[in-house]
């Protein structure tokens, strides 16, 4: 009896959900422009997805929910981990059923690669808030990117390291696409600056115990370590292991991209990462009025200031680009015209001055050298200590 009753209750619940969820997409009202945002809103990368949302809502809070009288409606879709098949299904549904005029978001490269073949047919531009492989930009002329590439953030580290007298390096990267990109970019940069990489170590993505890696670093007798790991829990283990095995005390310098010290991880990393030097395109502590306003709005959207991190700024600037596109096309769906309109677009972003490169459609931005330090209130921050302005993506340079 219980079985039947609960089962039928479940069925009716399911039917209701079906009707509301799948059934009625409905055409958008004439003056509403829909924007579909795909990101990891749940699962192991939920933090990054939340930051997408915070960036979008911060922009809406500051600029209003309409552009030239065209209302903006945001449709969020969850893609928890890299899953190109699901990514394609979500994008197709957003284009065909929800009739979005713009796609934004996308955290992982394969997910972006799955969407790009749809853009031309769907007459929809894609503004990438994060996915950081150079090759995405060449896969469709309707892609614009407001984040960074691993090569872009890595390259300035070469000169910065040699300037600090550290020349002999071991590079340690996670063994997947962006890690391999970072390894190559760093090697190129450090060689150009007159240093050398004596050993390149790639470790599996799911590595949690780093002491054997540190042992190898010690064996190699290098002066410095270049590290790339994707943002997330393992970075904590990596940095702690670097300290615990005595490498830090013995004077080995740790250089990394900002992925390792994203602000939301800093309260946990804290003392362990103190003095660590990273290069990145954005620090939450960036000193400018635009940034302070952005941070205030984004923190409000997040609810918890400790969760704010770099994907939010990619999303915020992505919304800026989309708004310019809407204005340029007068709210009409015209992907080519929209993309054409933002080529060469320059503006003051919370991260500093930026510009959409007209040739590659990738963002040109300042890369900062930062040091993990305490601010006046005793919070751990990435303190900017040097600027490398107008960095393009070396991976797309011809």
């Amino acid at each position: 009896m219980i079985d039947r009753r609960s089962f039928s209750r479940l069925l009716s619940l399911g039917a209701l959900a079906l009707a509301s969820g799948l059934g009625l997409g409905g055409a958008a009202a004439a003056d509403t422009v829909k924007v579909g945002i795909i990101g990891p809103f749940s699962g192991p990368f939920a933090l990054q997805g939340k930051n997408f949302q915070a960036g979008v809502e911060a922009w809406l809070a500051q600029n209003g929910k309409s552009v030239d009288g065209h209302d903006i409606e945001i449709v969020y879709r969850d893609l928890p981990t890299a899953n190109p098949q699901q990514s394609r299904a979500l994008a197709q549904e957003l284009i065909v059923r929800d009739k979005v005029q713009y796609l934004g978001g996308v955290y992982f490269t394969p997910d972006a690669m799955a969407i790009t073949p749809l853009l031309k047919q769907g007459n929809v531009p894609l503004v990438i808030f994060n996915a950081a492989t150079s090759a995405i930009m060449t896969s469709s002329p309707l892609v614009v990117r407001t984040s960074f590439t691993t090569a872009q953030t890595t390259t300035p580290l070469g000169k910065a390291a040699v300037d600090r007298g550290v020349k002999k390096f071991v590079s340690v990267v996670s063994d997947y696409g962006p890690g391999v990109d970072a390894e190559a970019a760093f090697k190129k940069a450090i060689t150009a600056a007159g240093g050398e990489v004596v050993e390149s170590i790639r470790m599996p993505l799911n590595t949690t115990e780093f002491s054997p890696i540190m042992q190898r670093v010690r064996d190699a007798g290098a002066q410095g370590v270049f590290a790339f790991l994707p943002s997330g829990p393992p970075t904590l283990g990596f940095v702690k292991s670097f300290n615990d095995t005595g490498l830090k005390q013995s004077g080995v310098k740790l250089f990394a991209t900002g992925d390792l010290t994203q602000e939301s991880d800093l309260p946990a990393l804290g003392e362990a990462a103190s003095g660590m030097i990273t290069s990145f395109h954005y620090a939450v502590s960036h000193d400018s009025d635009v940034n302070r306003k952005f941070v205030a709005a984004a923190e409000k959207a997040l609810g918890d200031p400790a969760q704010l991190s770099f994907p939010a700024v990619g999303a915020y600037d992505g919304m800026h680009v989309i708004a310019r596109m809407i204005a340029a096309t007068g709210g009409k769906q015209d992907a080519e015209k929209a993309v054409e309109a933002v080529k060469g677009l320059a503006w003051e972003s919370p991260r500093g001055p930026v510009k959409i490169d007209p040739e590659t459609r990738h963002i040109t931005e300042t890369i900062y050298l930062r040091e993990v330090a305490k601010d006046a209130k005793g919070h751990w921050i990435n303190k900017e200590i040097q600027r490398f302005p107008e960095q393009k993506d070396p991976g797309l340079a011809k």
């Binding site: 192991p44 309260p267 946990a268 804290g270």
Partner: protein, 287 residues
């Protein structure tokens, strides 16, 4: 030689951290025949409580760990009465389905209340400092983890092999109706051993947080590792689990030192090889 010794020490610490977390799962699977995939979720809850108590309330490391164990058991008791008790004698696949469901819920709820950021458990000064062992320095908490692992192993062995509770537990496992007929309160025994397993998970989650950082996805991220360790050791065997943790820890750490690029390859190849050679686990009980 020094390098070898140094790696062996790292391997031992890592293996022991795994052991403390996994031994509870080994007991539930081997003795209670419950495939509890939510075990990692309880370890995670333990970690969260310890972090909250030690970091946010400033109660210190030791108090944090005690609260973690007590708090997690407290959370687990209603779950045991409402959910787990109904699946003790169901098929393994039903157990898998329900415990995965519970894991999903725990992840979702944790994410909702604590947010997706990392949580740390601040170590006391004595454990945070590197200890100089002559040939290398090692973090103090690693020695603490090794010691805790040995104490847990010894204590459990004593409990199960040498006490009245252990005898009753083994009787309930071998033949529950007979044990009941002889006046053993099997329901109580099951609840107590479930609480014991959960308590160990929480303890492991808290002291192992330096190896496996506490975040909402913890419960799924390490599920495979936990399952592999338990099955290689042979479910229900304490020496087996200990051997498996040390062996797999050694393989993992050594492979990552020698060939970091192919670390995972060697780990899983080794698992396949061991399981094929010892299909019942290293020291598993004959089924």
């Amino acid at each position: 030689m020094q390098t070898a010794l140094s790696i062996a020490l790292d391997a031992l610490a890592y293996g022991m951290a795994l052991f403390i977390i996994c031994i509870g799962l080994s007991l539930t699977m081997g003795l209670m025949r419950l495939v509890n995939l939510a075990h990692g979720a309880f370890a995670m809850i333990g970690g969260y409580i310890a972090s909250y108590a030690a970091r946010d309330l400033g109660l210190g490391y030791a108090v944090g760990i005690v609260l973690a164990v007590a708090g997690t058991i407290l959370i687990a008791i209603p779950l045991e009465r409402l959910l787990f008790r109904r699946i003790y004698d169901r098929s393994e696949l039903s157990q898998v389905l329900m415990t995965i469901g519970i894991t999903f819920c725990v992840i979702g709820i944790t994410n909702y209340f604590f947010g997706p950021t990392l949580k740390t458990i601040p170590l006391p000064a004595e454990l945070a400092q590197p200890v100089d062992l002559g040939f290398r320095s090692i973090a103090g908490h690693r020695l603490f983890v090794i010691a805790s692992g040995l104490v847990v192993a010894g204590g459990l062995w004593f409990l199960i092999e040498r006490t009245g509770f252990g005898i009753n537990l083994r009787a309930a496992v071998e033949n529950a109706p007979m044990a009941r007929a002889l006046g053993v309160r099997t329901e109580w025994i099951y609840a107590a051993s479930f609480a014991l397993a959960i308590g160990l998970a929480a303890f492991g989650g808290a002291v192992g947080a330096e190896f496996l950082p506490i975040e909402p996805y913890y419960a799924l991220r390490y599920m495979v590792t936990f399952l592999v360790v338990v099955s290689v050791g042979g479910a229900g065997s304490i020496p087996g689990a200990l051997a498996a943790c040390i062996l797999l820890g050694a393989i993992d750490v050594t492979a990552r030192y020698l060939v970091p690029d192919f670390g995972n390859f060697f780990f899983y190849l080794a698992v396949i090889l061991i399981v094929c050679l010892f299909p019942r686990g290293l020291l598993g009980r004959a089924q």
